[in-house]
């Protein structure tokens, strides 16, 4: 007695196994992420919730104020996953976004705790920028969450009507042109095999934008270079980057050298043609590492993303 034709959602339910309850949001990911999403859809959702709970207006909220609760939420998340036999760190691994948000919040909080000095500091600006970015992303998320509410309401209310989509009445079905279906059984099997073959999992795109190149800066590397030269005297480039773990560090140290040379902080010496360049400090150097950095800020962006 059932209709040949069913409303679409029912059909799909069969595909959703009992394991993935579409209701709970637990379908987000197969791994430990499930847990994080028991109540919330990611870090922004948590943050929004915390802000709303304190009856703060999102446009005015000082994000630092909700830091403790956010961190507490993360801790609880980890504790719960340990309790449930999960590796707690696995959850965090899968939720690097949580960490990015948490660390930004911590930064903001730390800045509030410190005595207010002059604001010209490089780091203060970075902090402001990080806050604005987080803020902008939070606003953006909130807007989409509102849009999702609209869609959800629509989805629900529209579900109360069902479209007429019934099989063609026989006398009209009979009018259809005779089916051209002269395919060999072998070819048909091939099509079946292709259709049934498990599709490769779509490659997980991981946003790397928030991985700020392990904070490699020209200033810091220039300091490091100066330190090494003070300790060892003249060195060649190979020796200067021998301890570098990342290509990025090698690149940044190279740029730092160029900059230090330009500021006449170091000298290059070549003993013989095509020989190694020996690098040493130029006399009593009191170079300004921050100044070295400033010159590069304009072109920053590509350099510190690996």
């Amino acid at each position: 007695m059932s209709a040949v034709l069913r409303e679409e959602p029912s059909v799909q339910t069969a595909a959703d196994s009992p394991a993935t309850d579409p209701e709970s949001g637990a379908e987000e990911s197969a791994g430990g992420f499930r847990l994080a999403l028991d109540n919330f859809n990611g870090p922004f959702d948590v943050l929004l919730h915390l802000i709303t709970k304190r009856e703060l207006d999102i446009t005015e909220v000082a994000l630092a104020e909700v830091t403790d609760e956010f961190i507490a939420y993360l801790r609880e998340l980890q504790a719960r996953s340990l309790y449930e036999g999960d590796d707690g760190m696995k959850v965090l691994d899968e939720t690097t976004e949580f960490l990015v948000v948490a660390s930004t919040l911590l930064d903001l909080k730390a800045a509030r705790l410190l005595p207010r000095g002059e604001m010209a500091d490089e780091e203060d600006f970075e902090l402001l920028e990080a806050r604005d970015l987080l803020f902008a992303r939070l606003l953006q998320y909130k807007a989409f969450k509102t849009a999702a509410e609209f869609l959800g309401g629509r989805y629900e209310s529209e579900g109360a009507r069902k479209p007429r989509e019934v099989a063609l009445e026989p006398q009209f079905a009979a009018l259809l042109p005779e089916l051209v279906f002269n395919i060999s059984a072998q070819r048909f099997a091939q099509i079946a095999a292709a259709a049934l073959e498990p599709k490769p999992e779509p490659q997980t795109e991981v946003g790397l934008g928030h991985l700020h190149g392990a904070n490699v800066t020209i200033a810091a590397e220039a300091e490091a270079i100066a330190g090494m030269l003070r300790e060892h005297g003249a060195m060649d480039f190979t020796a200067l980057v021998a301890d570098a773990q990342l290509h990025l560090v090698v690149v940044v140290r190279f740029l730092a050298l160029l900059e230090m040379f330009r500021q006449k902080v170091i000298v290059f010496e070549q003993q013989h043609p095509l020989g190694d360049l020996q690098i040493s400090l130029a006399g009593e150097s009191d170079f300004d590492a921050e100044a070295v950095q400033d010159d590069y800020d304009a072109s920053e962006g590509e350099g510190d993303h690996e």
Partner: protein
């Protein structure tokens, strides 16, 4: 049964309720079933259906649809008077060939029957509702007599399908293994991959 059924409290009452159900019903619905749905006596349903059918047939303004009683129950049909226009709608843009999507869906059904639309969708990764309808209309598949889990309709291929493929029985469908290198146990693999 109580005199005042829930449907009586809605605007339009039983007649509109019947229209609503019949509008989306694909196969004819018996008045007994309708009586059950609306919690009213069968006689009341029968009377309301007769009244609706007469109303649609009105000489003043015959509707484009009619409510007809066939062996297995009641169903909406388009009125025969307008068959020419309906035909031109039906034939417009129709092709004699199956689309690639239809072919793939048919293949999945052939090798996995009986199978629900939900399962086919999960395997193909797209919604297959309209394609399944096409295959039904073309007589290549049909409903399986029993329901699947959760009351899902299951589909199977037809005799006509075998004829068109030049096969005597389903056993003659070529094995898939030669086309699936490295997949030893397709059945288990399939269910492992798509059941969730």
């Amino acid at each position: 049964m109580s005199e005042i059924a829930p449907i009586d409290q809605l605007p339009g009452g039983l007649e509109s309720g019947l229209e609503a159900v019949l509008m989306v019903a694909d196969s004819p619905v018996t008045s007994a079933r309708l009586a059950q749905i609306f919690e009213v006596p069968v006689a009341r349903v029968a009377a309301a259906l007769e009244k609706l059918a007469t109303e649609y047939d009105s000489k003043d303004r015959p509707r484009g649809f009619e409510l007809r009683r066939v062996a297995s129950g009641w169903r909406f049909y388009s009125r025969a008077d307008y068959a020419d226009f309906v035909s031109s709608y039906v034939l417009d843009g129709q092709t004699a060939r199956l689309s690639q999507a239809a072919l793939e869906t048919l293949a999945v059904i052939a090798y996995r029957q009986p199978v629900s639309r939900g399962r086919i969708s999960a395997i193909r990764g797209v919604n297959v509702d309209s394609v399944v309808r096409t295959l039904l209309t073309r007589g290549l598949i049909t409903e399986y007599p029993e329901m699947g889990d959760g009351g899902a309709t299951l589909y199977q291929t037809t005799e006509y399908f075998l004829e068109r493929l030049g096969l005597g029985s389903l056993d003659e469908l070529p094995a898939l293994s030669p086309y699936l290198p490295g997949v030893a146990d397709l059945e288990s693999l399939d269910s492992a991959t798509y059941d969730d």
